[in-house]
Every structure is written in C-alpha cells, then in structure tokens.
Amino acid sequence: MALLKVENLSVGYKSKKGMVNAVNNISFSIEQGRSLGFVGESGCGKTTIGMTLMGLLPENASILKGDIIFNGNNLASFNDEKWRAFRGKEISMIFQAAMNALNPVIRVDEQIAEVIQIHNPAMSKSDVSNQVKKIFSLVEIPEDRLRDFPHQYSGGMKQRAIIAMALACAPKLIIADEPTTALDVIVQDQILKEIKKIQKALNTSVIFISHDIAVVADVCKDICVMYGGHIVEKGTREEVFKSPRHPYTKTLLGSYLTLDSYEDINVPEIREAPDLITMTGGCRFSANCNCKSQKCQCQTPEWVNLSSTHQALCFEELLNKDKND
C-alpha cells in the first residue's frame, strides 16, 4: 500500500476577486522509501501542496475537495489538535529559507531537542541529547558546533540544521520545499548528496519541491510537472526529462540552461500567467501553448497513458500530432 495517497485534491484561497484555485483536482501517491519531485514555475501550486500536506495552510485557504490518505488516516479531515501531534512526527518539512526558519536567539541543539521533547514527553534528558548528537552526526555538523547560535553558522550549515530538525523524530515522509534555492552551486551539491544519503539510510519517503528542474532530476526518481494548479505530466525522471510529451514540459525543459544545452535554447514568448479564478474548463496552458487548438480552450483535457508509469494531461491526438512533426 502506498504510504501517501492524494486523490482529487483541490485547494483554494479566498480573495476579493473570488476563489483562487491554486491546486486543482490533483492525484498522486508515494511509496515508502521513494522520492517524488514536483517541478513548476512560481505560482503553479507546488508550495500549496507542501503546506496542505503539513496542515499549514493560511487562514484564507481551504481544502475544497479530495482526500489525503497517509498510513490509513485521512489528513483532509484533521483538526488542529490532531495536526499538532502528527506534524513533525510522521511528516516533517525542510523549509525554503533556512536563515528564517531557525530561531536566532535559541542555541541550535535546543531547537532540535525541542522537536523531540514535544513528541516524546517521556524521554529522559540524556536520551534526548544523545538523539540530537546522533542526528547532527548524520547531517555532518561537528559536535563542537552544537551549542552555537544560528548566526554563527554558514548558509549550508543552517540548511543542514534544518534538515536535522526535520529528521529529529524519524518521520516517514519529509517534504523538502526548495531546500537549496538560496545556496550557491557547491553547497547545493553537498546538501543534495546529504538528502539522498539520508533518504537511503533511513528509508524515508521524500517529496521534493523545486523550480529548478535539474535539482529535482538529481534527487527524485518520480516526477510530477505542474502548471497553473494542475499536474500536467507525471512519470519516472527518465520518461519526463528524456522524452517529455506535454507541451509545457517541453517548454520548461527547452528553456533550461545546462552546460551542454546552451546552444539549442528556446526562448519562450513573454507569457501570461494562467488565470486561476475564472474556471473555463479548458486546458490552463492553452493560452501559451503552440498547438493553438480550439478544443483546448473549452474542453478539459484528460490523462493520456503513455506507459504504465508515464501520463500526460492533454488530448491524445495533439500529443501524437506533435510527435509526428
């Protein structure tokens, strides 16, 4: 059985202009020990998914429909009290800006110990401190830096401390929301290796959210590509990145600079962000898509199975037409 199964989830934000459908009817699942990556641009809803899975949606947001089944519990129906016991223990999160996620006036080891104490009130003080030391050695922070304050850490070390905090209670699932965005390439490389190593060692499941597709490709075996609140393509990383089929995935990959790809880069037209308030029912990418088909603007596209693991949200004839070009 899958560790986490999300079915037909929609999340909306109330605004003056109406309900903003940030996440629309998405389904995915993740097995124990696997890694799933969400890629997409700013505003595509990937962080909203992470916040929903952590029960951290702001007050103006709500789950409109759908189920989130985690280990037999439906998280969509959890109240605050249940969330508090659950969050950090079963599912934890590595946040984007490590510099803001640590409390500047509390020593780092105390911040990690706090997580353990809250979820295991019966644990003795020395056991807690042993556990903290164990986790710090796992993320390779030297023991003599345990009693430091966050400002004494470099950016990479802060991110390691955040990872340590996420690991404190040995959760079954870790959500990493842009964990390396603020770091430079060398530190980013170290942190990604760290995450992969820990995931293997503890057999934790990881949901990795990033706008940087190469980073997601590095960490995750399975990929979901998001656009305008929809998942538009999913599959293994080889399928999605080596033979992308959805027009948006192609645009995204075609504009991504790597050291090898710099010569055949496609510069996309200046594009409009998708309107998440008015629901036309059509494909949200249709305004920016090259296919220019009338059908896309009024009919909802459906999932096309390309292999047992590879699917795209588009019209079959358009996918095939594109292939023949």
């Binding site: 641009e41 700013s42 950016g155 770091l183 430079d184 390439v185 060398i186 530190v187 980013q188 490389d189 990604l192 992969k196 706008h211 940087d212 597709i213 190469a214 980073v215 490709a217 590095d218 990383r237 080889e238 990145f241 080596k242 645009t251 995204l252 504009s255 991504y256 600079l257 790597t258 050291l259 090898d260 790809s261 710099y262 880069i265 510069v267 996309p268 200046i270 594009r271 962000a273």
Partner: protein, 274 residues
C-alpha cells in the same frame, strides 16, 4: 575577439585592486582583524563585451560589482573607466561617473521602491541628472519601457511594483539602468530569483541591448551554464583571487584550475547515475 578591439582602450580596467574590510575594535575583541575580500584583482573589459564573473558565495564577486559602481572605494589599486583613473572621485565627477556606470541588482522585490510608480522609478535618473524636460522625459521613459520588453509602455507607466511579476520588475530595473545610456552595466545575479523560462527571456533582453546600444556588461553569477550562454569571457573568482580567466567556451570545456573543475562538477545536469 578581433584585433581591432584588442588595441582599443578597455571600457573598464581594474589594476591590482585589493579591498580589505576591517572589523572594528569593540570591547569583546581587542585589536583589529582585516578581512581581505579582494586580493590584487586585475581585469579589463572591452567595449560590447559581456564579461562573466563566476564564483560561490563569499568569493568577492559582489564586492567587485560594488567597487565598480562606486558604492565602495578599493583599499589599493586603480579602477579606470575609458582609460581614466576613477579613484576618490568627488562631487560632479562622481555624479558623472555614476551616470555612466549602472547596476542591475539581484532581487527585483527589494531594488524597486514600492512607493514609486514605474514611470517615477525610471524617470528619476533623468531628473537627477537634469536631462530633458517633462515632455521629452515622458517620451524617453515610454521608449525605454518598450526596449525593455514592457510593451505597450503606456500600460506600465502608472503601475506600481506590486502589480508586476518578478520578471517584469527585473525588466523595470533594466530600463532604469539603460535610460541614461551608460557605458557600462553591472548585472549582479539578475536572474537568480526568476524561473528558468523567465530567466532566459531576460538574458535575451540583455543580449538585444548589447547589440542595439553596443553596451558592455559585467555579469556576476554562480551559475556557469548562464555564464556560458551569455558571456564572451569568464573570470572564475575564489576567496578574493581570480583563479582563471578565458573565453567562456574554453574555461568550461577545458578548465585548468581545480576550483573551476569543482564548480563545473557541482553544476546540476540531467545525467541520472545514482
């Protein structure tokens, strides 16, 4: 680079530039410790060139940018603009220098004043330098907006930064940088906050501006792939020292210094090995 360009005076020249920051005495630490942010940096940037400065956080790449726009003075060494030394400029000369060297900052969410409309933001350099009158300024702003890809200009004229996306804000920053027709622009990680599809559009804009105005750029980044796409030459900087300089192609295809090799290895790509 052609022969002809080699003989020309470089637009910008750094000659043995060293920058030290002293951490001031306080009651906890006795005595002064100097941090050497840049150590004996020499480089020359030719007209119409996009010169890339690549390095990781703390390597000193932003300090070079700050020295060039005269937010700081070097401790030692000379910076020349069009062959003329610019150390310790004051008053009118400094104002003139700043109109000739512009900067595009990293974070378009912080580099634009939220209280100023787009028009006011872009017009400000003209007002400060007393160029034109109200009417010609308006035309100039509209024209510059179009060049920066904010078209039609009238649509953006009265908007405020919060009404624009990250990519559009960065285009406003570009418009503000080019409106005085400077000799040289320092672009400090202008796309690190932007998505890949938007970043590539901004790179295209910078290339267009170079072509149209024969503009010279210093492009500061930690992204080697971006540097290769955009730059003619690259300098790799590590701990305040330039460890390798060369054409973008050569530095990336055939890196000599171990640090450059390390940077290239750390660059994320799509080779699924694990």
């Amino acid at each position: 680079m052609t022969e002809e360009q080699n003989i020309q005076t470089p637009i910008i020249e750094l000659n043995g530039v060293t920058k030290e920051y002293s951490s001031k005495k306080n009651f906890l630490s006795k005595g002064e410790t100097n941090i050497i942010a840049l150590n004996n940096i020499s480089l020359a940037i030719q007209k119409k060139e996009i010169f890339g400065l690549v390095g990781q956080s703390g390597s000193g790449k932003t300090t070079i940018g700050r020295l060039l726009v005269k937010l700081e003075e070097p401790t030692k060494g000379i910076i020349k603009l069009n062959g003329k030394p610019t150390n310790k400029l004051k008053g009118k000369a400094l104002k003139h220098y700043r109109s000739k060297v512009q900067m595009i900052f990293q974070d378009p969410y912080q580099s634009l004043n939220p209280h100023l409309s787009i028009a006011e933001t872009i017009i400000e350099p003209l007002v400060v330098n007393k160029i034109g009158n109200a009417l010609t300024r308006r035309d100039k702003v509209l024209e510059t907006l179009e060049i920066a890809g904010l078209s039609p200009g009238e649509d953006f004229f009265h908007r405020y930064p919060h009404q624009l996306s990250g990519g559009q804000r960065q285009r406003v920053a570009v418009a503000r940088a080019i409106i005085l027709d400077p000799d040289f622009i320092v672009a400090d990680e202008p796309t690190s906050m932007l998505d890949a599809t938007i970043a590539i559009q901004l790179f295209q804009l910078l290339l267009d501006i170079r072509k149209k105005f024969k503009m010279t750029f210093l492009f500061i980044t930690h992204n080697l792939a971006a540097a290769r796409y955009l730059c003619d030459r690259i300098a790799v900087i590590h701990n305040g020292v330039i460890v390798e300089t060369g054409s973008a192609d050569k530095v990336i295809k055939d890196p000599q210094h171990p640090y450059t090799k390390k940077l290239i290895l750390a660059q994320p790509g799509f080779n699924f090995k694990n």
